[in-house]
């Protein structure tokens, strides 16, 4: 992935064959000129404290993290370690109590207010597919384009391409209720990719799927990442999933959530399911597992 990181002001970081990015970029899209440095996402000193009825909960403490452009970072940790909170702060759904989030050098939060133009660069995938039941698959995928004012004909073409990318061809006119869990999550990923996000934020996107589907979705996500070159932050509670997908695994420990370790994963890409049987993969998983267990 790191070999791709030579973007210039005019050339997008990637040009996948079926996805003609240049045609669909909204006019107000000004992130590209900022892309001279290879930082996709920078988190500095982020702190989050919730006020609850039983008092304040310190969810995140002093999180510093830099994600390179096109890099795939997995966040792992036990339930309640703040990984979802961190992702929600990155997604702009939660304001940090302190600290900054920057995407391509631009601060995402200015004086507690989110800068929508920065967050418009992000694609979000949640644990639930969160598709709108009143829209067909095609209209769901095209929703981000609709909100940006892309013409109907253009967004239908683009959405159909995205459906093909995630393997949903033939289901464009189905309603979400007619899809299996895996297919819904594919549609959600296609929707997240619709506006060519520079950063893809995924919160346990395959957590509700069965193991078989999950393995397959991981392979496809790896492919999508390779083709699109998007920066990905991927939250999961499965260590092997984290290792399989990531360039770096960030381990969070709870109460308050802080970064315990950052483990580079140098396994060659593309990775197949067989990589999970190698000694190297096993060592990485066991090492991370041990770090998690040390908390107790």
């Amino acid at each position: 992935m790191t070999t791709q990181q030579t973007p210039t002001a005019t050339t997008p970081t990637w040009t996948p064959p079926p996805v003609r990015r240049d045609e669909f970029d909204a006019p107000g899209d000004t992130a590209e000129p900022m892309g001279s440095r290879a930082v996709g996402l920078r988190v500095a000193g982020v702190d989050k404290t919730y006020a609850t009825r039983r008092g304040d909960v310190h969810a995140l403490s002093n999180i510093d993290l830099e994600v390179g452009r096109g890099e795939f970072v997995s966040l792992v940790g036990r339930s309640g370690c703040g990984k979802t909170t961190l992702l929600r702060v990155l997604s702009g759904l939660l304001a940090p109590t302190a600290g900054t989030v920057e995407a391509g050098e631009r601060p995402a939060w200015v004086a507690g207010r989110r800068d929508d133009t920065v967050f418009a660069e992000f694609g979000l995938v949640f644990q639930e597919a969160n598709l709108f039941p009143w829209f067909t698959v095609l209209d769901n995928v095209a929703l981000p384009l609709k909100l940006r004012g892309v013409s109907k004909a253009q967004r239908r073409t683009r959405a159909a391409e995205l459906c093909a990318t995630v393997g949903l061809s033939g289901f464009e006119d189905s309603y979400p209720r007619e899809l299996s869990g895996g297919m819904r999550q594919r549609a959600a990923i296609a929707r997240a990719l619709a506006c060519d996000p520079s950063v893809l934020l995924m919160d346990e996107p395959f957590g509700a799927l069965d193991a078989m589907t999950r393995d397959r979705m991981n392979l496809e996500l790896q492919h999508i990442h390779a083709v699109s070159g998007t920066t990905v932050v991927f939250v999961t509670h499965s260590i092997s999933e984290a290792v399989f997908l990531a360039d770096r695994v960030v381990l969070l420990t709870p109460r308050p959530g802080r970064i315990r370790s950052v483990t580079p994963i140098d396994l060659p890409r593309p990775r197949s399911v067989e990589v999970e049987a190698t000694a190297e993969f096993g060592e990485l998983v066991v090492g991370l597992r041990r770090q998690l267990d040390e908390e107790d």
Binding site: L93, F122, R177, E178, S180, G182, M183, R184, D210, R216
Partner: protein, 290 residues
């Protein structure tokens, strides 16, 4: 061996559009057989036939007095006489006007009030006592007051119909506005959607099924409101015909008007459910025929 098993599971997972165990929000109504779907169309006429049969039996075999229960044939004859009367059209028209006007007012006001109260929590809390009080009062008791205020014309009936139809719509819309899925909200916020886009693409489609759930009850209530209003005052409409038939001790005509009212009510209800099917074909209640 394992690979072929994997592939097998894979195709079933992703090739088959049927909802799987992981899909908590999918409903298994797809498996309904055609026989089950046609059943109401068979059972309905059969039950009607049975009703008429028992009715005829009670009249001709048991010998119930004609003043208490006229024979089905007599009622059909009275229906014929009703339609022979040139004034029947205006009676039906007046009742229909009252029902539709009342329903329309209730729809507009109910959606407006319901949406406002659903969005503004403190206001809803503040008016809660008044709402509960109004809801528990038997509203048909207001008819005489409306007659005093608005006279014996259609206005008092329209207001009665609107008042009865208002509550189911308002309460459903209030609930609907609050029922927006948190995950859906996250999607729209994450996309930086404008207030208008959020309303158009998320809040409105979320609320529409609730509007229709309210409207289905409300149209029935509107008919009740209009008829009760006509019972108590005025010289027009099907409710008036009921009362005048009673005063004339014309049992066959009384039954005939009630049959007419039943047909009118059913047609209006079907109109609402048909509209629902056209507007929200994606909704579960449309698919399962509830």
């Amino acid at each position: 061996m394992t690979t072929s098993l994997d592939r097998d599971t894979d195709t079933r997972t992703d090739g088959d559009p049927a909802p799987r165990a992981v899909d908590a929000d999918a409903t298994p109504a797809e498996g309904e057989s055609p026989w089950m779907r046609r059943l109401p169309w068979v059972s309905g006429p059969l039950m009607l036939l049975a009703l008429v049969g028992v009715w005829q039996f009670a009249v001709s075999v048991v010998g119930v007095s004609e003043f208490i229960l006229p024979a089905p044939a007599a009622v059909v004859g009275a229906l014929g006489d009703l339609f022979a009367d040139p004034e029947i059209g205006s009676h039906i028209g007046i009742t229909l006007l009252e029902v539709l006007a009342g329903f329309g007012i209730a729809l507009v006001v109910g959606i407006a009030v319901g949406a406002t109260l659903g969005r503004i929590a403190w206001l809803q809390r503040a008016v809660q006592p008044a709402l509960v009080a109004l809801q528990v009062v038997p509203k048909v008791a207001f008819v005489p007051i409306f007659v005093i205020w608005f006279g014996f014309g259609p206005t008092s009936k329209i207001i009665m119909a609107a008042l009865l139809a208002f509550f189911p719509i308002m309460l459903n819309v209030m609930l609907g506005v609050r029922s927006v899925d948190r995950g859906h909200r996250d999607v729209m916020r994450g996309l930086g959607a404008s207030k208008w886009a959020t309303f158009r693409d998320m809040e409105l489609p979320t609320t529409l099924p609730y509007v229709f759930a309210g409207a289905e009850v409300a149209i029935v209530f509107s008919v009740i409101g209009a008829i009760v209003g006509e019972y108590l005052g005025g010289s027009q409409g099907l409710g008036y015909l009921v009362v005048s038939s009673l005063n004339a001790l014309d049992a066959p005509r009384l039954f005939a008007v009630i049959v007419l009212l039943a047909v009118l009510g059913s047609l209006l209800y079907v109109a609402v459910t048909t509209t629902k099917k056209l507007v929200i074909p994606w909704h579960d209640s449309v698919r399962t025929g509830v």
